[in-house]
Amino acid sequence: MRENLHRFFRAARGVGVHVSPAESIDAMRAVAQVGIADRAVLRDALLLTLAKSQDEKLALGDCFDLFFSQPEPRQERPESVDQDTSQEAEQAPSSGAASEADGGSPQQEQLGPLAQMLLSQDRNTIAAAIASASGAASLSDIRYSTQRGIFSSRILEAMGLQRLRDDLDELTATNPALAERLRAALDALREAVRDTVSQGLALYAREEAENLRNEILRNAPLARIERRQVAEMRALIRQIARRLRERYSKPRKRQRRGHLDVRRTLRRNAAWGGVPFLTAWKRKHRDRPKIVALCDVSGSVAQVSDFFLLLIHSLHEVVDDVRSFAFSSHLIEVSEILESKSPEEAMSEIMSKVGFGSSDYGSSLVDFEKEFMSTLTPQTTVIVLGDARSNNLDPRADILRRISERSKRLVWLNPEGRLAWGFGDSEMPRYATFCSVVRQCATAQQLERAVSDIVAPYQ
C-alpha cells in the first residue's frame, strides 16, 4: 500500500498539487489512522492532508478517482478473455476435441508462468502481475505520449513475454486449440497493458506536457497567435497574474527601525505615567501602484493590448487603481467595460468602439490631454502600449513630454523589435526621449517581466 501511496503522491504532483515530503508523511499517518477499506473516507483523508485550496481539492479529487479506478478496466479485460475462451470452450466439444481439452492439463504444467496465469483466467492475479510489472518498468517515469510503445513492451517483457512466445511456438505444433486460446488471451493482455500505460501517461505526464506547452506559449509572439490558442493564452495570462499577485501583494508597510514615533509612544504609554515601556516606531507607508494605461488597439497591436489589459485588470490585489484607455484614431476610456464584462465581450466592445481605425497617435494624445490629464498624479505610472506607427501624422511628442512630467514614470511597451524602431512611419525614437523606460513586449514572458518591473518599485 505504501508503494501505491507514493505513486499517488507523484500523480498528485502531476496535476499541480504541491505535495512536500512533510505533507506526504502527514497523509501516510492519516491513512494509517483511517485505513483503506472505505474509499470515500480515504479520499476525504487524502484531500484533507494534501490539498491546500479549493482548486487543489478539485484537481486532487479527479486525480484520486482516476488513480483508483485503475483496477476496473483490467477486470473488464479478462472478462473479454473469458468470453473468448468460453466461446472456444463451446466450440471445442462441437469439433469433437473434448479429449484434447483433458489432455491439455499435463501440457499446461510445462508452460511458463505467464501462460499458466493467462490460461487460469484469474483476474486478480493478472491485475496484480500487471501492476508489479509496471512498477518494475517504472511506469511512473513516463513523460511523453511517444513513450507509450516502449513502456508497453517493457511491461510485457517484465511479465515474461519471451517465455510466452516460446510456449506459443511449441503449442502451435502440438496443441493448436490451446495455442489459439493463449493467443486470444495474449491479445487481451496487450490491450490491458496499453490501457494501463495510457492511464499512467494521464496520471504522471500531465505536468511535464503542460510545462512544455506553456513554455512554447510563453515565448510565442502574442500578435501572431492562432485563434485556438487564444483561450490557452488567456489561462496562461491568468497564471502570470496570480504569480505577480502573490509576489507583490504582501508587504506594503515597512517598519523604519530607529525612527521613534514620539506621539504614538507617549499615547501608548499614558497608562504608566508616560514612562515609555512600549515604543512605537515610525512606519513608512508604501503606496500601491496607480496605473494609467494607454493601449493602441489598431491592427496587429490589438492582440497584445488585449492580453496586456487582461493582465493589468486582474491585478486588483497589487494595483490600487487602474484606468485604461484604448485608441486607434481617437481615444476613449475603457476601464469600466473591462471591469464589468468578460474578457471576450469587453474586447469585442472596445474594438467596435475604437478599433479598426488607422492609428493616429497625435490626435489620441490630444484627446487624452483634453479630458484625462487630471487623472495623472505624481504617484501614477503611465504605460503606453503601441508600435508608435502614426501613419506619418503629427506625433505630438510635446504632449507625451507633459504626461511624463506630471507622472511618476512613463513606460512604453512596443510589440515590435528594436530593429524596426524608427524605420518607416515609426515615431519611436522621438517618443523614447520622454519615456523612463522603453521595452519590447511581444511575448507573454516579456509581458510578465514588463508588468513585474512596473509594480516592483512600489514595494
Binding site: 504541491h18 512536500s20 512533510a22 505533507e23 502527514d26 499517518r29 492519516a30 494509517a32 489512522q33 483511517v34 485505513g35 483503506i36 477499506a37 472505505d38 470515500a40 473516507v41 476525504d44 483523508a45 484531500l47 484533507l48 492532508t49 490539498a51 491546500k52 485550496s53 479549493q54 481539492k57 502573490e246 501583494s249 504582501k250 508587504p251 497608562a271 504608566w272 514612562v275 515601556f277 490585489e317
Partner: protein, 315 residues
Amino acid sequence: MADQKASTSIEAVESGLAAQGYIASRQIATAVYLSQQIEKPILVEGPAGVGKTELAKAIAAWRGMKMIRLQCYEGLDEAKALYEWKYAKQLLYTQILKDKLGEVLGGAQTLHAALDQLHDFGDVFFSKEFVEPRPLLQALEQPGGCVLLIDEIDKSDAEFESLLLEILSDFQVTIPELGTVSAITPPTVILTSNSERDLGDALKRRCLHLHIGFPEQRLEERIVESRVPGISQTLRRQMVGFIHEIRSLDLKKLPSVSETIDWARVLVLLQAAELDTEIVKDTLNVLLKYEADIEAAAPQVTTFIARAARSNVFG
C-alpha cells in the same frame, strides 16, 4: 480491523457533534477525527456563515472542554495574542521592594559583591508571575486540554502567521526571558478563514485543510431541524428549497446556513404554515444583506416558490 474502528469513530464524531446541534457532513467528521488522531490543527475555509466558528464551539461542547477564542484583526501582535509582561506590576514591585533591596545588599562590602548578590535576584521580575497570558499561551496552559479557535486568520497580517507556526506544529511557544513553554495537553486548534487573502504555504502545510461550502439540501434540512425544532416539515422543505434556488442567482452575498436558520426562526415567529409570495417578500431582508441583491431576487420570488413546492412534491 483498524479500518472498522476508524469508520465507527468517525460516526461517533458525527453523532457527538449532532448531539450539540451541529450537523456535520462526513468530510467534516473525518477532519475532526483525523485532527485528533494525528494532532494537527484544522484550517477551515469557506464563505461567511456556513458554520466555521460553530464547528469549534460544537467540538468544545461535545468534548466538554474549554474554548479559547482568538479573534484576528489587522495589527494583532504577539502582545495581544501570546503573552505580555505586566509592566505596571513590575514597576509597583520594584517600588515596594526598594527598601528590601537596601537590606539585602547591606551585607555586601564591595560593589562586586553587591552585584553578585543582585544577579541572584536578577530574574525575579521576569518570571511566570509577571507574565500575562494571552489566548495562545492560555491554551497551552490548560491542564485538561482545550479547543483553541483562531478566528478569521486571513484578517491578520502576514507576520502574525509566522508567529503561529511554532504553536501549530509543536504546540509550544518560546518566550525569550523564560524559555520554551510546551502544552500540557495539546489543544485542538481550529483556524478559520474567509479567503480574504491567500495564506502562506508554511501555515497551510501545518494544517489539515477543510473547505466547508453550502450544504446539500438534505443536510441543510437536518441542520434547520436541529436548530429550529418548532418548524413544520413542509415549511422546512419549502424554505430550504427556496434558498437553494436563491443561491443559483448571481448575487453579491449568497445566503448561507446562518441566514437559513435566522429565516426559519423568523418564519416560525410569524407563524407561517407555508411559503407564499407575500411573506417571502416581507422577510427577504433576513436572507439578503444588500439592497441590490433584494432587488435582483424580488421578481423571481414567485417562480422560486413554485419550483420549491414542486420539488417538494416529488422529492
